[in-house]
């Protein structure tokens, strides 16, 4: 049985590799033009080529976002760009402007076209329309509930992708130009300044008006999404960190695999939800999936974001002769701390740091400098891109 696809964002080549190693089946990336994250690092053509080659060697895929809403000036050069990206080996383009579907399908019939959520597709007739144009997959509006998604799947026979984790827009995607009006930054061309997270004054009212939403988290509903026939589960966040992606993708990978292997127990799900909660910087909700989004899905007291200092170090190398891990520091930790290492292949090791060395192998007591190279004695060989985090006991 073909398993549902787990689709991860990647803001740069390192994150692309990490997220694929941690279990994503495919990644979506932005090029240096035409993507809705105009201010992310994004990928050069060489990096797209490297990313595609890395993914294809693992039997995985890379999709490129080309999902700005074009102005005439933006269309100059886009055809040449598409040609270059196809030559890099891209598997699909994610577009929102329908003229792009026709162009890509006509000129590159073997490359898939996915319709972006920017189109806020909410019904089967719209899906039928884009299917006729040649779209291979539709990313549905985040406003659809379970029954609506099911109806679309049952009546259209087009691959359906839904968002399962990450930040939510307050308004319909594509149907919001608040950023244009408030900050002159074009939301539909990648400049969104997230005005829905601002706080506004209200006359004769002490409290500010806010409309920011909690993040979406569908971990508990992966089973439902698989069973109604969704083809791809998308995680939001091309600007998210390595640690966030490794943790989120690692957890969803385990949940999906456990479902197919008939091991998805309540306790296992709770454990994964706990891991997901540790990288969250906002509270989460399933928003529209089982009910109308309501009062409880929003914040009312300005921006509610927590910084997360769980991520302690990134594993760079393992020396078998010396049984030493080489790591790059990410957050403060010290000798005596209880920590946990998790690996791309899904292994976890919990231990207490009893010795710590700097790059010159001088013993130190505290790791306090970001990106400082550190060494730790460790008995098991583990792969690069494993990560060390604080070990916290569940309450």
């Amino acid at each position: 049985m073909k398993r549902i696809e787990l689709l991860s964002p990647a803001g740069d080549i390192e994150r692309l590799k990490v997220t694929l190693l941690y279990g994503a089946d495919a990644v979506y990336i932005g090029g240096q033009n035409y993507s809705l994250r105009a201010n992310a690092d994004n990928f050069s053509l060489d990096e797209i080529k490297e990313g595609c080659s890395f993914a294809h060697n693992l039997g995985k895929k890379v999709y490129l976002t080309l999902n700005i809403v074009f102005h005439d000036e933006d269309t100059v050069g886009v055809e040449e760009y598409i040609k270059d990206v196809v030559e890099c080996g891209i598997d699909a383009f994610i577009v929102s402007d329908p003229f792009m579907i026709n162009y890509i399908k006509k000129n590159y019939p073997n490359v898939e076209v996915h319709l972006s959520t920017q189109n806020s597709t909410t019904n089967s007739k719209t899906v039928d329309f884009f299917k006729k144009q040649g779209a291979n997959r539709i990313v549905l509006a985040r406003e659809c509930n379970k029954e609506q998604i099911k109806k679309i799947i049952n009546t259209t026979n087009v691959d359906i992708e839904v968002f399962i984790h990450g930040a939510m827009c307050t308004c319909y995607s594509g149907r919001c130009a608040l950023s244009n009006y408030v900050t002159n930054r074009d939301s539909n061309r990648g400049g969104c300044s997230q005005v829905c997270r601002f706080a506004f004054d209200v006359q004769d009212e002490e409290k500010k008006f806010t409309m920011a939403t909690k993040d979406i988290n569908m971990a508990s509903y992966v089973k439902d999404l698989i069973e109604i026939g969704v083809k791809s589960l998308k995680v939001e966040g091309r600007m998210r960190s390595l640690y966030y992606l490794a943790t989120v993708i690692g957890s969803y990978r385990k949940i999906i695999d456990a479902y197919y292997e008939k091991n998805l127990t309540e306790d296992f799900l709770k454990e994964q939800e706990y891991i997901l909660s540790r990288v969250a910087n906002r509270e989460t909700s399933s928003h529209y999936f089982m009910r109308e989004a309501s009062f409880i899905d929003q914040y009312y007291t300005g921006r509610q974001e927590l910084s997360n200092q769980d991520f302690l170090a990134l594993v760079i190398d393992y020396n078998k002769e010396q049984n030493l891990l080489t790591m790059s520091q990410r957050n403060y930790f010290k000798v005596g701390d209880e920590v946990e290492i998790f690996t791309p292949s899904g292994k976890n090791f919990t231990f207490i740091v009893d010795k710590l060395y700097n790059n010159e192998l001088q013993e130190i007591a505290v790791a306090r400098h970001p990106e400082e190279i550190l060494k730790i004695p460790f008995s098991y060989e583990i792969e690069p891109y494993s990560m060390m985090r604080k070990k916290e006991r569940k309450q």
Partner: protein, 294 residues
């Protein structure tokens, strides 16, 4: 250019007496962003009464599957009435027109997404006759679209522009947080820019309006010169003033090629005075989207 009125009253005669070429009407329960909405029966009556006027009907809500059958019936009704065009946001309407082979003309009205000529040509090839150009692009960009596409173009020239739509009941939620009775409209101010936004909640969600009145009088002159197809005037000012503005726009349309520059400038000064606002929106202001240096 034809002048289309989005009315705030059902006193149609007053607009017709002041030389409007037609109306843009929101359909009851299937539109958002309209001050007054209309039943099919009212639209039919209006069309029968003023057969020489163009009647555009907006069905601009996001459509979910449970409403498809109703929308289908509405489209069949509007086909019988022979309205001039149906404004749509949701592509389901275009799909239904094609599937049912309906003899209706459509207006592509995806609020902030009608921004380039290639997509206009795409929709034209799919049988869409008109495009209501986004208010967030410049006048020059609008003229480029007019020049490079076959579709008939509309643009908003007067009124408060809609800047967002949420499915969420943002006002109900806010008042629930405050523990107060719910109000269905609210003026909010962004404290850094001091800009105000008017929020209106209805059964479909919450609509955001920019609270500066768009005054497209200056761009109107250039649009006239370039044979732009339609200008939309939303009645967001006092009714009497609105009728004077409408009359004044109609006069300029008829006399554009007969008057000298000085008269055009005088016309502009007078109409600006009537409207009050000098806000020209994005007609002369280009948005940016890359703010980070690579």
């Amino acid at each position: 250019m034809k002048l289309i009125v989005e009315p705030s009253t059902k006193d149609y005669t007053s607009y017709i007496n002041n030389f409007c070429d037609g109306f843009l009407l929101g359909l009851d329960d299937f539109c958002n962003g309209f001050k007054v909405t209309h039943t099919i029966k009212e639209i039919n009556l209006l069309k029968q009464t003023y057969q020489d006027k163009e009647i555009f009907v907006s069905i601009n809500i996001p459509i979910y599957d449970e409403f498809i059958d109703t929308v289908k019936e509405i489209l069949k009704e509007l086909e019988k009435i022979k309205v001039t065009g149906i404004l749509f946001y949701d592509l389901a309407i275009l799909e239904l027109k094609q599937e049912l082979n309906l003899d209706i003309d459509l207006v592509w009205n995806q609020t902030h997404m009608v921004t380039n000529s290639k997509t206009c040509n795409f929709y034209y090839a799919e049988g869409v006759k008109y495009a209501y150009i986004s208010s967030e692009i410049t006048l020059e960009e609008m003229l480029e679209i007019k020049k490079n596409s076959k579709i008939s173009c509309m643009a908003l020239l007067l009124g408060y522009p809609i800047c967002s739509l949420s499915k969420r009941k943002l006002l109900s939620n806010f008042y629930q947080f405050l523990g107060k009775d719910v109000k269905k409209n609210l003026l909010i101010k962004e404290p850094v820019s001091n800009q105000e936004y008017n929020l209106i909640e209805d059964n479909t969600g919450t609509v955001f309006y920019y609270n500066k009145l768009l005054n497209g009088s200056k761009p109107y002159l250039k649009l006239l010169k370039n044979n732009f197809d339609y200008g939309v005037l939303k009645e967001d000012i006092d009714h009497d003033k609105f009728l004077k503005v409408l009359q004044s726009y109609a006069w300029m349309k008829d006399n554009y090629y007969n008057v000298i520059e000085e008269e055009k400038n005088n016309w502009l000064a007078n109409v600006n005075k009537l409207i009050g606002s000098r806000d020209t929106g994005f007609f002369y202001r280009k948005t940016i989207f890359k703010v980070k240096k690579k």
